[in-house]
Amino acid sequence: MIALARKTLAYEWRRFLPAVFALGFSGVLLTVQAALVLGIFDSASLYVSASSADLWTGYPGTQSVSFGRPIGPDVEMRLRMDPDVQDVEPYLWTEGDWHAAGARGGDVSVYVSGISTGSGGPSGAMMFSALLPPDLRTRLDEPGAVVVDRADLGQLQVAPGGEASIAGRQVRVIAALPGLRALGGVNVLASLDTARRIAGRDAPAGATYYLSRLRPGTDPASVRDRLSPDRAFGPFETWTARDFARRSQHYWLFGTGAGVAVLFMAVIVCVVGAVVTSQSLIGVVAGSAREYAVLHALGASMAALGRVVVEQACWVGGLGLLTGAVFSAALLALADSQDVPVAMNLAVSLLCAALVAVLALLSGLLAMRGLLRADPAELLR
């Protein structure tokens, strides 16, 4: 069988270009949007995913890390009583207004994370272990020492080594790191003591969270189940790190309406992509209507002609997918280099690719309408 679809595509590629670009850009929009969402929501769970704790214990019903409420110091004892808990580390979350020394303009709202600066036992400290090198963690012991994200330096109007105040307490930026950006505010890392000083009279006796490391080979879920609420230790709830990260992401995705907005945008992208692509393909098919009509007159069935159109749509889809993948990769690399929070994983990229493929197929089916003009009787005059 002569490969009519492929040969036409290769010879008249200019006519197919709008459809290829329409699909390619649909792919780019979908991918970049998904990457931004993933990046932003990854930063919602950054506290969990950048730490090496197996269990998180906080106030019952906490929806997201940033909504923590104080729990009593006795909870730490309860955790340490469990035979599978190897180490427990307090984490203090507080908020305050940042005012850079000598800066003009308003203050910046910041999230202060008070973390352990000790070695944290044989395996090291847990909180932000993936981001904070041990020597830098030790340097946080210096009173007022803080670490911020390098992308936030401009907003905080400070340079590494510079001074500022949070809630009126003096702090000094000892380093700026990548990957600390937060959703809705600026993350500032400090020692537990510095954080308590910043919190002032609001500082809890205990902590906002207790992080637990379990003995190797222990199932976190079974320990979590054992740590059922006990009135004797005050209110608390324990989650596995994975559950707590998901909980934070789900809250931002579904609890805030952001998820619906993203879904809505994805539907718009799909609809616009399908309309533009199918219109381009209909144009191509209608342009060859007379040739198709001759084939139909010669006995080629409408189904066979439809297959040619769908095959063309598949080729266009493949090329669009390739274009989209190249542009998306370039854009995501650029975003990443500029500290824009983007993230991508195999499942989501495959989902985007599948959506583009469905778009192409749908456009091909819609473009088959162009074949209705391929009436051989119209060729007779």
Binding site: M1, I2, L4, K7, T8, A10, Y11, E12, S288, R290, E291, A293, V294, L295, H296, A297, L298, G299, A300, S301, M302, A304, P376, A377, L379, L380, R381
Partner: protein, 251 residues
């Protein structure tokens, strides 16, 4: 209004007609106006001949061709092709009938711009289930028959009008159809190319025993036809043999 054809009785032949129209009517609706194009028309077309339908614009000659070739169905009457009543065939069966038995040549050449002359001719053969190797052999043979073998690798943009029409004829012939329909095949061609196309159609009828039905008002075509059906106002007003001159019925 249905008018009776003024056609003299169908020509008597030793062979049975391959195409027959029996008292067919056809009308078209344009807005609220209904235009009757064919009026109770009857005709019989025989194999091995180049039969020409001629007549002024709008007389219904292309409509008659579309009915006889199964591209359209009559409002009333019966069309028989190769002994089959076309009205009795479903859409799929009609497609299969056209695939196996009919070839078409249109005024516009309607060649796919992306395909070479050889591929244009191979294309319909693929729908018959023929593989590319076999179809290439047959396509080349047919291109040779229309004098286009030496241009087999060229695309339509590299061919003249006459050459394109010969490729279109080869495409129609490749399936070795028993019925070949041509609608104004020479009207877009110069004298020399028009003559060549008519000669080819004539030769096909003679050598392959094909029923060639051609609609044309080209006087050259009239001279080379075996039989001419002159139409006017939706009826055949004369059925004559060019060799004998107009006005004499083809008995």
């Amino acid at each position: 209004m249905i008018r009776q054809s003024r056609l003299v009785p169908a020509p008597r032949r030793a062979v049975a007609p391959t195409l027959e129209a029996r008292r067919v009517d056809k009308s078209f609706v344009s807005g609220v106006v209904r235009a009757q194009v064919l009026h109770g028309l009857s005709a019989a077309i025989y194999p091995g001949e180049l039969t020409l339908i001629s007549g002024p614009s709008g007389c219904g000659k292309s409509t008659l061709l579309s009915l006889l070739s199964g591209l359209q169905t009559p409002d009333a009457g019966e069309v028989r092709a190769l002994g089959q009543n076309l009205a009795g065939l479903g859409k799929r069966a009609l497609e299969r009938f056209r695939l196996h038995h009919t070839g078409f040549v249109f005024q516009g050449f309607n060649l796919f711009p992306a395909l070479t002359a050889l591929e244009q001719v191979q294309l319909p053969l693929g729908y018959l289930g023929m593989d590319n190797k076999r179809s290439a052999v047959r396509a080349l043979r047919v291109l040779e028959e229309v004098g286009m073998a030496h241009r087999a690798s060229l695309r339509p943009a590299q061919l003249s009008g006459g050459e394109k029409q010969r490729v279109a004829i080869a495409r129609a012939l490749a399936k070795e159809p028993q019925l070949l329909f041509a609608d104004e095949p020479t009207s877009a061609l110069d004298a020399e190319n028009g003559q060549r196309v008519i000669d080819i159609l004539h030769r096909i009828a003679r050598q392959h025993g094909t029923t060639v039905l051609c609609v044309s008002h080209d006087p050259r075509a009239v001279r080379h036809a075996d039989r001419v059906l002159s139409m006017e106002d939706g009826v055949i007003c004369n059925d004559w043999l060019p060799a004998d001159g107009p006005g004499r019925a083809a008995h």
